[in-house]
Symmetry: C2
Subunit: 425 residues, 2 copies
C-alpha cells in the first residue's frame, strides 16, 4: 500500500515555515507498512488544492493531507475535496454543538466564521479533535481513501495516532517496514561506506542509507517484509556484522545520543568529569548537562576564554602559555589536569583551539583544536582539524571531546592504545 | 512570474530528512519577485521524476529542482528531464575534465561511475559547481525554464546565488517582494498580536505573519509591488509604527540574533560580562561566545552544578545555600555578584533553577528559574517560570538572561525601572 501526503497552506510556500508534519506522518505510515510515494505542498487556493488531490488520487489509493481545515475563508480543503469527489457540504449539527461547547468552556461565544468548520462532505466520517475545533475527515471514494487532518502538529499527531491508525491498520496488509539505526563517531562518511558496503550489498532487500550529521555518521537500515520474524532476524544479523566492521566507532544501535552514551559510561564506571573550555565556550559543559541526572557525574566546569583565567582557574603556568601558545597540546593537557585537580573529578577535559573567523595563522589555522583528557595517571591529547565555520568547528570539537570520553572507558576495558586519527567530516 | 520547486531524492520521503533547500530557494526567488506556487518531493524513480517535471511545466514557466545529479545509478534527474524535453544526453568532455581534475586535486583517480555526471542534455547550459563534482543545468524549452541544481545545500546555495540569480533577474519583471522582519523578546505571541493588529490590519497590501520561536516572537512583513519606493516607504512606516507599539521589546529589525545585539551593546558601552550558571549548564556562555570577537567582552564563566563549587568559585556563602536553597533569588544574586568580582567584569550574571525532569516541588516547581544581574552598584533578580521540557527550559532561561543584559543598557540610558513580567511563551 502506498500513500501520498499533501500539505495545504500558503505559509508553507514562504521561506519561514517548513512542513514537519509529513515527517511524523511518514514515520507512522511506514510503521504500518505504508510507503510514502510523494509529497506535495500547495497554497490556499481552491483550484491548486483540488488539483493536488486529483493528481494524487490518480496515482495512489491513500492520500493523507494536513491543513486548511480552520475557520477562516482561506481554509478551503473541505470545499476543494468535496468538489473533486462530487459531494455536497452539509452542516453537521453535532460538530457545530461540539465547537460551540468548546468556546463556552473557554468562556467565549463562537464566532460566526467557525460555523464553516461544521460543514462536512456527504458520506464523510468524522475524526474527533479533542485538542482543537476542526474535526478531521475520512472519505472513501471508488476504493480510494482521503484523510484530512488539521495543520497544528499537536492536533494532527493526536488525531492520527488515535483515530486514523486504528482504521488503517487492518487495511495495510501483512507487509511492514522494519527498521534499525546505527550511529558512529570518529569515521568519515566514506570510511563508513567502505567498511560497510561489502556487507550491506549482500542484503538487497534492505535499503541502507548512510547519513552524515555534524560529527557523526548514521546508518539507517529499512526492510519491507511480510515475514516479520525473518525481517527482524535479517536486520539483527546485519547490525551484528556491521557492528564488527565498524568496531568501537559505533556508539549506539538504539537511537541514543552521544551525550547519553557518555552519561551511561560515567554511571557504570562511577566516574566524574570536569571541563575547562576555551574555544567551545561552554558547549561541552552544556551538552554534558543536557542529560537528566548529569549532576551525578558533572559537578562543574569553567569557560576560560582569557589566558589569565586559564592560569587562575586551572593553574596553567603563564610561562607555558607564553612559550607554547594558548592553542597548543601542552596547554590543552594543563587545562585538563588543572580542572580535574581543582574539582577533584576522576577525569578532566581541556579544549583549546581556533574557532575563527579570525585568529588563524599558517602554523595554527582556523579549525585547529587540541583536546586533552586527564585521569589519575596523567593526560593525553588529540590534535584535530575541523572544516567549516565557527559554529561547526565548535560543534565538531564538542563531539570529539564527548567521543574521547566514551573511548576512554572502552580502551580502559579493552586496552586499545591509540585514538582515532584526525576526523574531517 | 511564478515558480515551482521540485526536490528529488528517496531520502526526502523517509522520516529522517527534511527538504530545507526549498526555504533558501524560496527566499531568493521571492527576493527576485518570483512567487513559489507549489513544492513537490519525489523519490529516485525515473517515471516519478519525469511526471513531476511534466506536471510542473504544464502549470508554470519556471521549475527549480534540487537533487539527483550525483554519480550513482539512482541519480536520474538528468535522464528524466532529457527524456521529457526530448533531448539526447551527450558526454561533455570539458565537464569530464573538470571532474577528473577535481579528483586529481584530492589525490585520487575518478571512479568510472562519475562519468555519468558529465552527461549533458543537448542544448543545456552548464552551471559551474566550484564546490562539488556535479555541474548544474539550465534548460529552456518552449519559453519555459528548467534549472537543475545539486542536492548538497552548500553546493546548491553557491550555484544558485552565483550562476542562477544573475540569469533570472532580467526576466523577473517589475513586481518584487519587499520584506521586513522584527524580533521581540519578553512578550507572548498574543501580546504581540494584540498590540500590533490595530496597525497591520490598516495595511491590506502587506502580508503580516507572527511567528513564535522559543523565547522570541517574530513579525514578518511582506509586500509584492511594482512601485519599489512606495513599497519601501510603506514597510518603513509599518516598522516605525509597530516599533512604537512594541517599544523596547523589539530587539532587532535587521535579522540579528539576540546574541549579536548583546555583543553590540557590550562593545558600544565598553562593558564586560562574566557568567555563573547552574541549571543552564554553560548554555549562556556558549551563546555569548557564538559571536565572533566575543573575547573582547567575555573573558570567562563557570558552570557550578554542585553547591560546593558555587561557594568555591563565586563565594556564595554555604549558609545562604543552606537557608534559602540553591534555587533562590538570594543565591542567584550571590552568583552574579561573586563571578563579577572574581573575574573583574563590569557585569555578572547568575542563573539557578530547576530544569527537570526531576527535582521539582510544589514550592519550587520544574521550570522555575532565578536570573540575577550584578553591576558595580549591586544586583537585582528576576523570577521566571518556563514551560516545556528540560531543553526548552534551559533555552528560555538563556534567552531571558541575554534579554536582561540587553535591557540593562536600554534602562541605563532611558531610566526605566522594571523588568518585564514573567515570560511564558
Amino acid at each position: 500500500m502506498q500513500a501520498e501526503i499533501i500539505a495545504v497552506g500558503s505559509e508553507l510556500l514562504t521561506p519561514d515555515r517548513i512542513d514537519t508534519n509529513s515527517l511524523f506522518l511518514t514515520q507512522r505510515l511506514n510503521h504500518l507498512g505504508i510507503a510514502v510515494a510523494r509529497k506535495t505542498l500547495v497554497g490556499d487556493q481552491h483550484d491548486h488544492v483540488r488539483d493536488a488531490f486529483r493528481s494524487a488520487l490518480d496515482r495512489c489509493d491513500l492520500v493523507v493531507a494536513s491543513g486548511g481545515l480552520g475557520p477562516t475563508l482561506d481554509d478551503l480543503t473541505r470545499e476543494a475535496v468535496a468538489e473533486l469527489l462530487g459531494r455536497k457540504l452539509v452542516l453537521n449539527s453535532s460538530v457545530l454543538q461540539n465547537i460551540e461547547a468548546r468556546f463556552r468552556r473557554l468562556g467565549r461565544s463562537m464566532p460566526e466564521v467557525n460555523k464553516r468548520q461544521a460543514m462536512v462532505p456527504e458520506g464523510a466520517e468524522l475524526l474527533e479533535n479533542p485538542r482543537g475545533t476542526a474535526p478531521g475527515l475520512w472519505l472513501e471514494s471508488a476504493g480510494r481513501i482521503v484523510v484530512l487532518l488539521p495543520g497544528p502538529p499537536h492536533e494532527l499527531k493526536a488525531m492520527f495516532t488515535e483515530k486514523v491508525e486504528p482504521r488503517l491498520e487492518p487495511m495495510a496488509g501483512a507487509t511492514r517496514l522494519f527498521y534499525r539505526e546505527m550511529r558512529t563517531a570518529g569515521l568519515t562518511e566514506s570510511e563508513v561506506e567502505q567498511r560497510t558496503a561489502p556487507i550491506y550489498t549482500q542484503y538487497p532487500d534492505v535499503q541502507t542509507t548512510i547519513l552524515a550529521a555534524p560529527g557523526e555518521i548514521q546508518l539507517h537500515l529499512r526492510a519491507w517484509s511480510s515475514n516479520h520474524p525473518a525481517a527482524e532476524r535479517m536486520l539483527d544479523e546485519m547490525i551484528e556484522r556491521i557492528g564488527f566492521a565498524l568496531g568501537e566507532n559505533v556508539f549506539t544501535s538504539n537511537g541514543q545520543t552521544l551525550e547519553e552514551i557518555v552519561a551511561r559510561e560515567m554511571a557504570i564506571n562511577q566516574a566524574t568529569v570536569a571541563t575547562a573550555e576555551s574555544c567551545t565556550g561552554g558547549l561541552l559543559a552544556e551538552r554534558l548537562t543536557r542529560v537528566p541526572g548529569s549532576s551525578s557525574y558533572f559537578r562543574g566546569g569553567v569557560v576560560c576564554y582569557s589566558n589569565d583565567l586559564k592560569t587562575a582557574w586551572t593553574d596553567v603556568p603563564a610561562e607555558l602559555i607564553e612559550s607554547k601558545g594558548a592553542v597548543s597540546p601542552e596547554v590543552a593537557q594543563a587545562l585538563a589536569q588543572g580542572i580535574r585537580r581543582r574539582i577533584g573529578a576522576t577525569l578532566g577535559i581541556g579544549i583549546t583551539g581556533i574557532a575563527g573567523p579570525s585568529g588563524g595563522s599558517p602554523e595554527k589555522p582556523i579549525g585547529l583544536v587540541y583536546i586533552a583528557l586527564a585521569d589519575a595517571n596523567g593526560s593525553r591529547d588529540r590534535a584535530l582539524r575541523f572544516p567549516g565555520d565557527r559554529e561547526r568547528i565548535r560543534w565538531h570539537a564538542s563531539q570529539a571531546a564527548l567521543d574521547m570520553l566514551r573511548r576512554y572507558f572502552i580502551y580502559a576495558r579493552h586496552g586499545k592504545p591509540s585514538w582515532p586519527t584526525v576526523v574531517q567530516s
